[in-house]
Amino acid sequence: MSYDFVIVGAGHHGLACAAYLARAGESVLVLERSSRVGGGCSTEEATLPGFRHNICSVVHTHVPTSPVYRDLELERHGVRYVYPEHLRGTIFPDQRSLVMYRDANRMADEIARFSARDARTFRQLVADYGEFIDSTYLSLMYSPPLAPSLQSAQLEQSAEGRTLLQWQASTPVQLLDELFESEEVKVHFLARMTVLGFPPDQFGQGWICLFRILKAEAPICVGGSGSLALGLRRAVEAHGGVVQTDAAVHRIVVHGNRAIGVELKDGRRIDASKAVVTNVEPKKSFLGMVGEEHLPSPFVARVKNYHSNGRSLFVLHLALSAPPHYRAAAGNAPVDLAFSQEMFGGRVEDQVRAYRDIATGVPPRMEMLQVTLPTLFDPSQAPAGRHTAVVWQYAPYRIEPDGPEGWRRLRDEYAEHVLGLWSSYAPNITKDVILGMRIQDPTDTERHNDNLVNGVDVVGDMTPDQMGWFRPFAGWSDYRTPVEGLYMCGGYCHPGGGVHAGAGHNAAGVIADDYQLNRWWD
């Protein structure tokens, strides 16, 4: 059996890459070990019949505005999004709250409830940097990463550019301290970073922080996150591509220095006349499926050093008979209607300390909570009048002194603790309202999708040494590998974790260039 391209892993990146190649007229086979496609785009009845829960990703911030959505005509393939009017509501321990809006003036008015000066600063940031972010961020996400020298060469020529470079070098906390005076405003914007797994006191992340201050969106995939994966699968199949589930790849066959196909666990051999593309995280792809003997030792060293040690999530999937009503809504009604409610204490230091606790294997006892009810915006995800909720609490993968096994002992107690924290903000969340619950500790997350090593939901830490031109490795961030005919396309590549299909799109572009395929999307 032979195809032009064999893609290992039917995560959303693999499917997107396959869809581009299939529509270019290539014969494409996608192989998926599990019985479902989508990887982190997964929706299942985790609690009770009719309650559809998003097991990993909940929101697809960039997908609807991405070239992938347009090029692959995903709407025609059944992928639709709804947009909550109120985005993220940060609730503070004193029950005041700050709701995020996509409209800059409305957002500034909200900030002004805490600090008039910060509202002015926000408006000025929008005026000064809004267009810069708009013009560059998406473009840079949906193209191979720029070398650091190329970025700095342009910016270092002007005072304004040098300010951006200085901000880029700083930590999120430093940048927020420079820009804002209100502790609540800082907590709110810092949460915009930490919910994505960015450490609050990590140097070299200021630019992303600026983006997260200025841009807000929360598109929810109708039918659940898994609907995106199904739409992508349809896009592959519409152009003659083949997607096989329950087909585990054992190894990538290398002849000389060229990938020529794959061997499945059931013994089948499938040839790839042009290339193999792996959507599987680096250690499994290169140390497991390719083998060190086929790789240069410096590359092997980089693979071995790829790290996933950041914060994970302790997740509760809940079936509810009624939505939560927050005390904070008495003073700011839209909090109840926001895409998510975020409870991260009242001081910047709370998030910093939580991350430090997590690094030492201690699950935070204070609230580090994000709660989302997709059914407020897409009722199709639960029976009529009922709701699903996903509750995230920042957590470590390893618990001192037991390691990951420690979750067996702790998970039920911690789930009760997290529910208690939540209900202290939303008192109507009682056992009567909770119809069903599934606990998903960080080890469950990894079991569900072992690309999420150590339960890190962004497929490898999003730290400066593993972002942009350094993701996954310096010199190998263009989706190519040292093995000819072997490419990478997962969340471990630029632009990183999350659901945006950027790596799948970008890998397809590089492959099209290398094999002189029809770049029909340009």
Partner: protein
């Protein structure tokens, strides 16, 4: 490749406008963002262009060369920088005592900055063309914009009757035909032995 077409009626004769278009310094004085012009020869100039995106200035150093001209009707120039190539066609058409100026600009981002260049051009081209028109108005007096600026193929022509539109397109077709012939001549030249 992103492209934009723009048309102006200039209150001057084709000969006057041609003189202006052909003088790199005077032309660049009307192009927004051009900060420095160094003439290398009669047909070639180095330009430094500053394009502000919000408060962040992006500075692009271009070399522009006129590689074909048919005075006082048509000019074709190519400007190249590290990450982009810009092709510019300028056509002049008599309109009574005035001159209609057609500009067609195609920008092709190249290399790793290609998506950023293309995105910026898409966002800025209309605004910059309008500013160029304002500058021309200051230089030549009253100027009427014949057509709104837009992506080619989605051209909006203001206050133009269907008959006029047909004539406009006929003129565009003439420019296109001229370009085709020029291209054929250049190809024939490069294919001739001994050249």
């Amino acid at each position: 490749m992103p492209e934009r077409e723009t048309r102006f009626v200039v209150n001057a004769s084709p000969a006057e406008v041609w003189k202006f278009v052909r003088d790199v310094h005077s032309l660049c004085s009307c192009i927004p963002g051009v900060e420095k012009v160094t003439l290398l020869d009669e047909r070639t100039a180095d330009l430094t262009v500053k394009e502000k995106v919000g408060v962040v200035p992006l500075i692009v150093k271009l070399t522009a060369r006129i590689d074909a001209e048919d005075p006082p009707h048509y000019l074709h120039a190519v400007a190249t920088a590290d990450h982009l190539t810009m092709e510019i066609d300028v056509g002049l058409k008599p309109d009574g005592t005035r001159t209609e100026l057609l500009g067609l600009i195609r920008v092709k981002g190249e290399g790793p900055l290609r998506p950023v260049v293309n995105s910026l051009f898409d966002k800025r081209a209309d605004e910059r063309a309008a500013q160029f028109a304002e500058q021309l108005e200051r230089r030549f007096g009253a100027v009427g914009a014949v057509g709104a600026v837009g992506a080619v193929g989605a051209e909006v022509v203001a206050e133009t009757t269907p008959e006029e539109l047909v004539r406009e397109r006929g003129w565009l077709a003439q420019v296109g035909e001229w370009l085709r012939r020029l291209w054929q001549r250049l190809q024939a030249r490069s294919a001739s032995p001994g050249k």
